[in-house]
């Protein structure tokens, strides 16, 4: 496998050409991360547009139509072109290193999966260049609103973009599954794999099982819109709820696709900075698998108010999925207990994840209680919930992962002071933005409205949320500055700057194209720890 990356440069090939044609999983992983962070920034600008418009009642800056495009594209970019690919990017970079493999199983397919993503982004955003503007029916694109009668060509471009992203995800997931099952180094049994690898494995299985359902739904919607089909059009014998069932059959497991690898990152960071093994490794593996399995039986909790689903079943399954998540929480906390915590930036972000994702889990339980969901569904409460899960959870984990593996990727550490400044602003800004949304939702503010009644009592909290939004935006500046200055004068990292546990710390920083000159013996889930201290258990 590594032979594809061993080709020596013949001089006339520039560095750029090398990056454009690479099949090295590490470079592809970095490309995934870079592209995803670019999408995070663009998606963030759309979020700011939304927040600016909502800062006060009345339409000041956007028209209704522009507002609808802004929140639709914000969510579509963040979910499909940031959170999912950024975690796939970490997986790409780190999984082969963690299991002692020289590369992914299918390096060329790996490169192809990546290059579909910028293409998809261009296709989706090109909607803004069309007469009707970009997709505007929300990231859920509920039919009949998403039909051609109501929405313009921007929606077709959105469908095509999602088909490309889906193809990328499916190919990537096959690549991960084959890599993890077939390319582990000698001694790396399944139950010695780092939790990050386990979460990527379960995530890949979810992607492989769920994404084709979304793909077929998207094709049906495309046929409805362009080729005279009526799958989801009740005016012509179709079924509007069928779209929601197929869409959420993918998009609920997708929440776990967006969260499980983040849990994986946290499960790598906490033990290293506590100087203890992960508490309850096996329970953690089973909890991950349980979340993956249960994740397929809760999709209709997004549809409680449609009147078209069997409520007690989906309520029960949704409550049930809290149990493995709770197990993970206690395991993480027990990992820190009696440890020796070092408050480096990765640990701060991991603690941000723990404290915020907990809120995202708890406020989710309200919606599992169906009658309470009748009150809260489609209000700002749900906006608060999804952001506590995907920002408080996934985004904090992404930054934990970036600060943690940056030294491995580039051979230099990111600046700790700037990292801590970023964390403080991001943590405060995040809570200022999203905590008030709970209260807005309870008092009846629906999501996806461009304007609201100035007498509804929502003015102050909306202004607060907008101030929080700008605080988050501000917190990105120290990060970008950090990347810029450390690329020139960062502290050299060495092979193992954090006293890591897993195999990526057993090679140089950055690793050679073939990853390892030699591997330490693998006798537990912490081979590098064992090599440093000697094994502490049989």
């Amino acid at each position: 496998m590594a032979t594809t990356t061993l080709r020596t440069s013949t001089g006339y090939r520039s560095g750029l050409y090398d990056w454009l044609t690479t099949t090295d999983h590490k470079k592809i992983g970095i490309l995934y991360l870079a592209n995803s962070i670019l999408m995070f920034l663009i998606g963030g600008l759309f979020a700011l547009l939304v927040r600016v418009e909502l800062a006060q009642p009345g339409l000041q800056f956007l028209t209704d139509a522009q507002y609808n495009q802004a929140f639709t594209i914000h969510a579509s970019l963040m979910l499909f072109l940031f959170v999912i690919p950024v975690l796939a990017g970490f997986g790409n970079y780190i999984v082969p290193l963690m299991i002692g493999a020289p590369d992914m199983a299918f390096p060329r397919i790996n490169a192809f999966s990546f290059w579909l993503l910028p293409l998809a982004a261009i296709v989706m955003l090109s909607g803004f260049a069309t007469g009707g503007g970009a997709a505007a029916a929300g990231w859920t694109e509920y039919s009949p609103l998403a039909q051609a009668k109501y929405e313009g060509i921007g929606t077709d471009l959105w469908i095509v973009a999602l088909l490309l992203i889906g193809t990328s995800s499916i190919l990537g997931s096959i690549n991960f599954i084959v890599t993890i099952f077939k390319m582990r180094a000698p001694g790396m049994t399944l139950l010695r794999m780092p939790i990050m690898v386990w979460t990527m494995l379960v995530t890949s299985i979810l992607v492989l099982m769920a994404t084709p359902v979304l793909t077929s739904a998207l094709i049906m919607l495309f046929i409805d819109r362009n080729l005279g089909g009526h799958f989801f059009d009740p005016a012509n014998g179709g079924n509007a709820i069928l779209w929601q069932n197929t869409f959420w059959f993918y998009s609920h497991p997708a929440v776990y696709i967006m969260v499980l690898p983040a849990m994986g990152i946290i499960s790598e960071v906490l033990p290293v900075f506590s100087r203890k093994p992960l508490f309850g490794y096996k329970a953690f593996v089973f909890a991950t698998a349980a979340i993956g399995a249960l994740g397929f039986s809760v999709w209709a909790h997004h549809m409680f108010t449609t009147g078209a689903v069997y409520l007690p079943f989906f309520s029960f399954m949704t409550f049930l999925i809290a149990i493995p998540t709770g197990v993970k929480f206690f395991n993480w906390i027990a990992t820190m207990f009696r440890g020796q915590l070092t408050f480096s930036t990765p640990l701060l972000y991991a603690l941000g994840f723990l404290t915020m994702f907990l809120i995202g889990g708890i406020n989710g339980a309200f919606s599992a209680a169906v009658p309470v969901d009748f009150a809260l569904h489609d209000t700002y409460w749900v906006v608060a919930h999804i952001h506590y899960v995907l920002f408080g959870g996934s985004v904090f984990a992404v930054f934990a992962g970036l600060y943690y593996w940056w030294p491995k990727m580039f051979g230099r550490k990111l600046n700790e002071t700037l990292g801590k400044i970023q964390f403080v602003f991001m943590f405060i800004g995040f809570n200022l933005t999203f905590f008030p949304m709970h209260i807005l939702g309870l008092s009846g503010m629906p999501r996806r409205i461009a304007d609201y009644d100035p007498n509804a009592g929502w003015n102050d909290l909306n202004l607060l949320a907008t101030i929080g939004g700008f605080t988050i935006a501000f917190s990105i500046l120290p990060f970008l500055w950090n990347v810029f200055i450390t690329s020139r004068s960062g502290e050299p990292a060495g092979d193992d700057p954090w006293e890591g546990n897993t195999l990526e710390w057993a090679t140089s920083s950055p690793p050679p194209p073939y990853n390892f000159d030699h591997l330490p013996e693998i006798r537990s889930e912490r081979p590098v720890f064992d090599a440093r201290h000697g094994a502490t258990h049989a």
């Binding site: 609103l145 506590s274 009147g307 406020n363 169906v370 258990h537």
Partner: protein, 357 residues
């Protein structure tokens, strides 16, 4: 909720603890849904309060453990040896699997019971109303006791209902998915084309003569945020009178007569509705003589009209509601000098000022 211990190690720490406690209490106090005005909403509220208490306990317990670990287990300069390498503890892990399982099962059972109360539909409702949603307006058909015949259609987005009796609502959509949502009912239900959803509720008699805001909660297109309505709670006697009056009016009045061939001096004002907004915020007219308001509705498929109210809120004129693109000439009676408000009966947020002098 933890109370700060009397003896605290350092002032900074006690300050931090107090701030945390204050935020927690403020958060708890603010996280309260509006007081429910239906008996079903009250059931939901009870469930919310139950879930909320469990949520606060879990939140305080788990965040407390995290904060404790962070404060207690910092690495000290003397920590050169590794801490004990504990890989797990089966007893602990079984406990923290079983206890949450019991907690979520209790929550599930309680929420299922509440669901059965909230979702119950009476075979003999006192009143059946059909809410018909379309981009971007509501209309309410008051059905006869047979549940079929329309007695009267309220085109303005105002749903007048009797308190203390069981009201049955049937939802119908003319185009895309909408949602009937009244925050003070603590309830919403989607209005799905091709499907007839329905539900029951009983407004608490204590809330008589109140008005509750309602709004479409499922994103339904460009002007989703303008799709408002209100619910007015009347005593059963008032409601009966009101309904009889509306039914009589609807039966008696055909479409408003076109303006009689007016005098040569008659003033004509022009007003256009576009994108759920009037093109003018102010109009002026001469006092003491009738005039014509030529109203153009340029929103395809969306209903508008112009209604005029005086400064006391008394409605003086209500123009026919019609769907665009179309136009009507409304004959406005002579008005005394003063300031009036004009508004669309379907979209109350469309308003302007009429000055008569």
């Amino acid at each position: 909720m933890s109370i700060p211990r009397p003896r605290l190690p350092r002032p900074a720490r006690s300050l931090a603890a107090l701030v945390a406690l204050a935020l927690l209490l403020a958060g708890c106090a603010a996280l309260e849904p509006p007081a429910a005005v239906t008996s079903q909403g009250q059931d939901t509220r009870d469930l919310y309060d139950f879930v909320f208490i469990i949520a606060v306990v879990i939140f305080v317990l788990v965040e407390g453990l995290i904060v404790y670990a962070v404060l207690r287990y910092r690495r000290k300069p003397t920590d050169t040896e590794l801490p004990p390498q504990v890989h797990g503890n089966s007893v602990l892990e079984v406990i923290w699997t079983i206890v949450p399982t019991i907690v979520v099962l209790i929550m599930f059972v309680f929420s299922w019971q509440t669901l059965n109360q909230v979702d119950a539909v009476s075979p003999t409702p006192a009143l059946t109303v059909r809410a018909v949603a379309a981009q971007f307006q509501w209309q309410f058909d008051y059905l006869a006791p047979d549940g079929q015949t329309v007695q009267f259609t309220q085109q303005a987005p105002e749903l007048d209902l009797p308190v203390g009796v069981d009201v049955h609502v049937i939802l119908r959509s003319k185009d895309v998915i909408h949602a009937f949502y009244v925050p003070k009912f603590l309830f919403k239900r989607d209005v799905v084309p091709g499907r007839e959803n329905n539900f029951d509720f009983t407004i608490d008699p204590a809330d008589v003569n109140q008005t509750f805001r309602g709004q479409c909660a499922e994103f339904c297109g460009t002007f989703h945020s303008t799709m408002l309505f209100s619910v007015k709670a009347l005593s059963p006697a008032d409601f009966k009178t009101w309904l009889a009056q509306q039914v009589a009016t609807a039966a008696a009045s055909p479409a408003p007569a076109p303006s009689a061939a007016g005098g040569a001096t008659e003033t004509t004002l022009a007003l256009t509705a576009h994108n759920i907004a009037y093109d003018q915020a102010t109009l002026s007219a001469p006092a003491g003589q009738p005039f014509v308001l030529k109203f153009t509705n340029s929103d395809p498929g969306v209903s508008h009209n112009v209604a005029i109210t005086d400064s006391t809120g008394q409605q003086i004129f209500k123009g026919e509601i019609f769907s665009g693109p179309d136009s009507r000439s409304y004959p406005i009676p002579a008005l005394p000098a003063g300031t009036y408000t004009f508004a669309c009966s379907v979209h109350p947020q469309m308003t302007g000022k009429l000055t008569v002098h």
